[in-house]
Amino acid sequence: MAPTAQPARLIFLGRKPGLLTRERVLRFPDGLEVDVVLGVQARCQRVFFDEVHLVTLHRSKGWVLLLVTGILFLFAAVASLLAGLIGGLPVGLGIFVFTALPAAVFFFLRLGLGSDVVTVHGKRGRAEMRFFLKKARAREVFQLVARLARERQERNSREQRAAAAGLPPPFPSLPT
């Protein structure tokens, strides 16, 4: 039996940023741990591989974020235009480059690339990870989780079948 003092190794898989909370998904030997951080307090949820019933991968645009970035871009563009009219072209251009341009770049990148979302559905919980630029990583995580869940469930089935084969006839009563 392994020593109990050693903490389980947690391997970081991905995160899901939110408006108020952010989630970090970590892998431990028996499943996934979802750390939901609200402020400075983190709450842990676990999705066990032997309870996983569905893993999905899809591409989402994230319309709320797109809308917010679009509005930011418009505000920054108007502000830089006004600054340019009042203070001259260099001032307006400077403000545009440092405020509106990053927002525009992010907006178009997000619109074009979207965000790959891996969702792992367990019996009692769910783990979700979003990957904006790392598309290959999203697929890798999707395949990894699906493989680990399949391996664990196949192993459980095998063990149960083996145990059932070596058992005497059924015992009727349930414990009270």
Binding site: V40, H53, A164, P168, P175
Partner: protein
């Protein structure tokens, strides 16, 4: 010894489209790419049929002389004792956590106290605390002399926490907050120096 029916029979819900939450029958979802009937968008899916976990118990009558009964289920043979309170427990009662077997009462108590690593439910994220102080120090750099060291302290504590939990992954953000804390301190000190001059 026998297999009891699983406490919770495996009753799997339908698959929902991750885009529009439209419910799709599990049998119609194929491995790989699927098209949602409603929103006409694609998603990849991998469905599983998790096997129910049967619990095996041995009756006390079958075990022969010298066998001990479970403290909770008098008809069941005790397979061990609780690692905390020492009460005899059967296979039904035994809850394994951190590679030790506990009775349900002790498990409940220990997990409420967050004393079990594998059943840990909440903790203070020191990295976030470091970030909070670092950003506050940046916004109110007059107080940087106090907020900067606090940011550094909690960022270091956050790094230690990640290490203690055995987490892998990048720590760039934590180092960033640490350096921002140093910057806050220097800005605060510079401001104080300018005031005193």
């Amino acid at each position: 010894m026998t297999s009891l029916p699983p406490a919770d029979a495996v009753d799997l819900p339908d698959v929902t489209c991750p885009h529009c939450a439209y419910s799709v029958e599990r049998s119609r979802v194929a491995l790989g790419e699927n098209l949602c009937d409603r929103c006409r968008r694609t998603f990849e899916a991998c469905c599983f049929q998790p096997p129910a976990r049967p619990v095996r118990v041995q009756a006390l009558d079958e075990a022969g002389p010298g066998a001990t009964a479970c403290a909770q289920h008098h008809g069941n043979l005790a397979t061990g004792h609780c690692a905390r309170c020492g009460v005899f427990i059967c296979a039904v009662c035994r809850i394994e956590a951190d590679r030790k077997g506990y009775c349900p009462t002790c498990f409940e108590r220990l997990s409420d106290e967050d004393a079990l690593d594998s059943a840990r439910r909440r903790y203070t994220d020191y990295g976030s605390l470091g970030a909070l102080f670092a950003v506050l120090g940046l916004l109110a750099w007059i107080f940087g002399l106090a907020l900067g060291p606090a940011a550094v302290h909690y960022s270091l504590k956050g790094l230690g926490q990640r290490e203690a939990l055995g987490e892998t992954g990048t720590r760039v953000a934590l180092w960033g907050w640490l350096f921002l804390g140093v910057f806050d301190f220097l800005a605060g000190a510079g401001f104080l120096f300018a005031l005193l001059r």
